[in-house]
């Protein structure tokens, strides 16, 4: 029973983390906080992939030289390695956009930006 729950416990927490990230993105108006929400969402996907690649009793995918070693699956690790680096590139781009928005509008709160836009249009 306890092993049954532990077997899918990772998936549940991954789902909770993913929904936490989504909640931040939808409900908070501050753009930096939205970026943090996206990071949490993204990292939960990483955890999901790495959890799938785990083999019970396996070791890290570096050849030990012994014939009967059991290795975890290296493929998800490679995919996530790429995703982490791309993630930081998109974070940098997002922060650059936020800085530009700050210098144009003077605020990084989404609702205030929307208000400024409607005032601009009604003039």
């Amino acid at each position: 029973m306890i092993h049954g729950i532990l077997g899918i416990w990772n998936y549940w927490i991954v789902i909770i983390l993913m929904m936490t990230g989504l909640f931040i993105v939808i409900s908070r108006h501050n753009l930096v906080k939205k970026m943090v929400g996206l990071t949490i969402f993204q990292t939960s996907v990483f955890l999901f992939y790495i959890s799938l690649g785990k083999v019970q009793g396996g070791t890290a995918p570096i050849l030990t030289g012994y014939k009967d070693s059991l290795y975890s699956n290296p493929l998800p690790h490679v995919l996530i390695l790429t995703a982490i680096v791309v993630g930081v590139a998109t974070t940098a781009l997002g922060l650059a956009l936020i800085l530009r928005i700050k210098s144009e509008y003077g605020t990084i709160e989404e609702n205030e930006i929307a208000k400024l836009n409607t005032e601009e249009n009604s003039k």
């Binding site: 532990l6 690649g53 995918p61 974070t91």
Partner: protein, 180 residues
């Protein structure tokens, strides 16, 4: 068994950090919590045998991202203005999607199951052929740089594009100072 318990505890810690990150009003503490979150993620990756991913996450996710956030925060307001106008809507959406995903999670293979579909496809091929093909012991490096080298090429193109975008958006900083 022990590794599953450690893993379960650490991943529970992550959930707590994520919830605290929602509630904090100071942007600085949210950013630092995101750094701590990445670091604990890196520890979990070690316990799930993904050592290469762990050190990349620790260096890039916890280190470089946090530095980027702090650098950007020099020019940004330090506090969030709290407006709770669509919290209930957001909660309903997230709760609904979360329930559906948890329902779907019962169809996933148990973590660590060696007979799961993911371990039947190219994984065994990489494990048995990396040494004869490339002669290096690290399977992740072998797959990253050789078997899936085009992926890595695509990744560098994405990073180059992002870097170009940042340069075009921020320029040399002179325009920004003029507006402030």
């Amino acid at each position: 068994m022990a590794e599953f318990l450690i893993n379960g505890f650490l991943i529970f810690l992550l959930a707590i950090i994520a919830v605290v990150a929602i509630r904090s009003i100071k942007i600085f503490s949210t950013v630092m919590l995101a750094g701590a979150y990445s670091l604990i993620c890196a520890i979990i990756f070690v316990s799930l045998d993904a050592v290469d991913v762990a050190f990349t996450e620790a260096a890039v996710g916890a280190g470089l991202s946090t530095v980027l956030y702090i650098a950007a925060m020099r020019h940004l307001p330090k506090r969030e203005k709290v407006v709770n106008d669509n919290t209930i809507f957001a909660f309903i959406v997230c709760f609904g999607v979360g329930c559906l995903l948890i329902w779907a999670s019962f169809d996933l293979p148990v973590i660590g199951d060696p007979m799961a579909p993911i371990h039947q496809h190219v994984g065994p091929y990489y494990i048995s052929n990396t040494k004869p093909d490339m002669g290096i012991p690290n399977l992740v490096t072998g797959v990253l740089a050789s078997y899936r080298g085009y992926d890595t090429l695509g990744e560098t193109v994405v990073i180059f594009t992002a870097g170009l975008g940042v340069l075009l958006l921020l320029g040399d900083g002179k325009n920004r100072d003029k507006n402030e």
